[in-house]
């Protein structure tokens, strides 16, 4: 037999994909999805879930994951065979889409730092949702990197804590999902 010379296998590039999944809103469905990712060693960069259709009891899970194209394909096939999963859409592959994240950012301080925090919040279009003499809670919505930048700046100005939602996403245009 001839043996094929071992061709140097090019390492496939790691891609970041945003996947939107419509599932029955039933007990355990989130555990099923998360268990699939942990059990098979897939990455979760972000995961959000909430009921989106009360009458049909459907929830939408948005997962940001990363892997080689073969792994991404595998992730979608594995999600697709879960019984409570209705639809799996790879937004990254299916055309333009919007991706948003919201953060609540608490900053404490007085004097110049407090004024600077408020000024920067204005630049980032962050809303003040709580204020005391010595603190603010800002609500800021945008792309992940935008939030990272805002939080980075706040860390110089008395950052106390951050709560982030993870990514929610939707395709652009009139089509569903």
């Amino acid at each position: 037999m001839t043996v094929r010379p071992a061709s140097p296998a090019p390492t496939p590039a790691i891609e970041r994909h945003t996947i939107s999944i419509l599932v029955d809103n039933e007990p355990g469905v989130l555990a099923r999805v998360i268990g699939l990712f942990s059990g098979r060693g897939y990455n979760i960069e972000s995961l959000t879930v909430a009921e989106v259709d009360r009458d049909a009891t459907l929830s939408r899970i948005t997962i940001v994951t990363s892997g080689t194209p073969m792994i991404i394909e595998q992730i979608k096939a594995q999600l697709g065979r879960l019984v409570p999963v209705h639809r799996v859409h790879d937004l990254t592959l299916e055309g333009p889409f919007v991706e948003r994240e919201t953060a609540l950012v608490k900053v404490a301080g007085t004097g110049e730092k407090r004024v600077e925090a408020l000024r920067l919040a204005d630049v980032f279009k962050a809303r003040v949702v709580d204020a005391t003499i010595t603190s603010f809670v800002f609500e800021v919505t945008g792309q992940g990197e935008e939030l990272d930048r805002f939080i980075g700046l706040m860390s110089e100005l008395g950052l106390v804590g951050v709560s982030r939602t993870g990514v929610v996403a939707m395709s652009r245009g009139p089509g569903g999902i």
Binding site: M1, A9, P27, M70, A77, G80, R81, P84
Partner: protein, 591 residues
């Protein structure tokens, strides 16, 4: 819920029984306990469904698997909460790996106690989530019937698998309404059964053009029903191409056919593995490119175009990139392939095929399963050859196995001309599988000859099921190839760990003849070559459970073998082949 319900109200336990009857269930395998007493009470008061009392819940699952695999029906299991459910886990994982349709009902503590660490409570749905196809916790008795019917649908449709329904005790007592199966379809689960015809046409074109084609067939063809095996056989014969089957696929294509190359993979035949390595077109139907089959993935069949037919899209492009993926049920796809092949007047390339067969016959002439013939000691292969001779011509023989060397020898030496006659733990590799699986097959086929080909180590993992066999007068045969070692462990230690046989020798084995006697069965022993035939004849003659203690060569190893991390063309054909460089370092970590 109201529109589709029946007017009469039933208790949860009665709903369970009614739903099982409506699903055509005749037998369930189980073990009672506190949290399932209401269902056991309902079971007591009816005569439609037979209950087989096992001695350990794991065995209930394997027995249900044996029942399911030998009949094509869904196997049904009933266990209690807590330890009942945790004991079932191995069997569930086994059924998941081998795609066996199982519905397992488990009792649960009352709903108001869930989460309180109540007696015999465990998080059954949490524990079984990764080892089932799907699972349910039913908290409302009015959802019980729908859930049961949905569970059967999920278990048998698409790629089959085990489904657990956890039923709290108060739900079993509560009264609620019943629903029919037709009224209980799941909202979301609709597996694709019919293939994309463009893809099938593409596959047929490739098939006709191939110079060195091979069919690589797995358990999916058996799961698709006997018609799929018939269609496969028809198509393979129409093309004249060679066919190899996986461990799970044995019986999908007749073993007596010259076009069959034997099993492929780690302990597959020389001709099957080299044909896989050298082919220019591979048609994989209902197999999943498992690591036991592929060997070193990067050198797996390097020059072939690959067609993959599978009902589970996640099996495609998982381990090996394929060129033509076809999602669909094997029977449907094969039907379409045959129809298109005929309609287009396709023909195999006769000249190329003749050359290919010439090459394959050259490989086949190596006679890779040959072993040393001797009258000094019973070779395990010899024992199986004599067993094969004793059962030849019968089509009512069901073979199960435990896991290890004996399993691979059984796969190599037992003839399977039909599907559903071979049951082995392929994916999970569960020692202790064979005896309960044989019991399940025997329950389904009371007059058949059900033989568990076993090793003396594996059999002890579920030996208690002899008691079940006696209770129900199931004349199962346990055919132990006793070499006093965990043979496959010893083989690997010999190959890879310098012959340091760490904990693989079993001292203090039971006397299996006396053990059979203690259970009320028949014990037979052969320790000399000239005793083998008599013992086999007696085993078959006796219409009672039998344990055969076949005392075989302790040092025999299972060949051919592809060592871990090696390619198909790097097989070891026998003990004389050099083993020093058998396994590269990166292969050592592979199991």
């Amino acid at each position: 819920m109201s529109a589709a319900t029946n007017e009469t109200s039933l208790t949860g336990a009665d709903i369970v029984l009614k739903a099982l009857r409506d699903q055509g269930v005749e037998v369930i395998f189980g073990y009672p306990g506190g949290a399932v007493l209401p269902i056991y009470d309902a079971l007591f008061q009816q005569n439609d469904i037979r209950h087989i009392l096992v001695r350990h819940e794991q065995a209930a699952l394997h027995a249900a698997e044996g029942y399911a695999r030998s009949t094509g029906k869904v196997g049904v299991v009933l266990v209690t909460s807590g330890p009942g459910a945790t004991n079932a886990v191995t069997g569930l994982a086994d059924a998941l790996m081998d795609s066996i349709p199982i519905v397992c009902l488990s009792g649960q503590v009352a709903t108001h106690l869930i989460g309180n660490d109540a007696f015999q409570e465990c998080d059954t749905t949490g524990i079984t989530r990764p080892c089932t196809k799907h699972n349910y916790l039913v908290k409302d008795v009015n959802n019980l019937a729908r859930t049961l019917h949905e569970a059967f649908y999920v278990a048998k449709n698409g790629r089959p698998g085990p489904v657990v329904i956890d039923i709290p005790k108060d739900v079993q007592f509560a009264e609620g309404s019943y629903r029919t199966p037709a009224d209980s379809m799941p909202k979301s689960y609709r597996p694709q059964v019919k293939p994309d015809l463009n893809r099938v046409e593409e596959a047929v074109d490739l098939l006709a053009k191939a110079k060195r084609p091979i069919f690589y067939v797995g358990g999916g063809v058996i799961n698709a029903g006997p018609v799929a095996s018939q269609l496969l056989t028809q198509f393979v014969r129409m093309t004249g191409y060679p066919c190899t089957t996986t461990l799970m696929g044995l019986g999908a294509f007749p073993a007596s056919d010259r076009q069959w190359l034997g099993m492929l993979g780690m302990h597959g035949t020389y001709e099957a593995n080299l044909a896989m390595h050298g082919c220019d077109l591979m048609v994989c139907i209902g197999a999943r490119f498992d690591d036991r089959v592929t060997g070193k993935v990067s050198e797996f069949s390097p020059n072939s175009v690959k067609i993959h037919v599978d009902i589970d899209p996640s099996s495609i492009n998982k381990n090996v990139r394929v060129d033509v993926p076809i999602v669909g049920d094997a029977a449907h796809v094969l039907e379409d392939m045959i129809r298109i092949w005929k309609a287009r007047g396709k023909q195999a390339d006769k000249a190329a095929l003749a050359t290919w067969w010439e090459q394959i016959e050259f490989w086949r002439a190596r006679d890779c399963l040959k072993y040393e013939k001797t009258s000094k000691v019973i070779k395990p292969q010899f024992a199986l050859e004599r067993l094969r001779a004793a059962i030849s011509g019968r089509d009512d023989v069901y073979i199960t196995t435990e896991v290890g060397q004996h399993q691979m020898w059984a796969a190599q030496f037992m003839p399977f001309d039909k599907p559903n006659h071979w049951m082995t733990s392929g994916g999970l590799g569960t020692m202790g599988y064979g005896l309960p699986a044989a019991i399940g097959a025997q329950v389904a086929h009371p007059d058949a000859l059900c033989i568990d080909i076993a090793g003396e180590a594996s059999i002890q993992m579920n030996i208690q099921e002899m008691s079940t066999a006696l209770q129900y007068r199931l004349p199962v045969k346990v055919f132990i190839l006793n070499n006093q070692y965990m043979g496959m462990v010893r083989q690997w230690q010999e190959l890879l760990h310098g012959g340091r046989y760490s904990e693989s020798y079993s001292e203090a084995l039971p006397d299996f003849v006396k053990l059979a006697d203690a259970f009320g069965g028949v014990g037979l022993r052969a320790s000399k070559v000239d005793e083998v035939d008599d013992v086999i004849a007696e085993m078959i003659r006796v219409k009672r459970p039998v344990i055969v203690d076949m005392c075989v060569d302790q040092k025999e190893n299972c060949f051919p073998m592809i060592p871990g991390g090696r390619a198909h063309n790097e097989m070891l054909l026998g003990p004389d082949e050099k083993v020093e460089n058998a396994t590269p370092e990166d292969g050592m970590v592979l199991v």
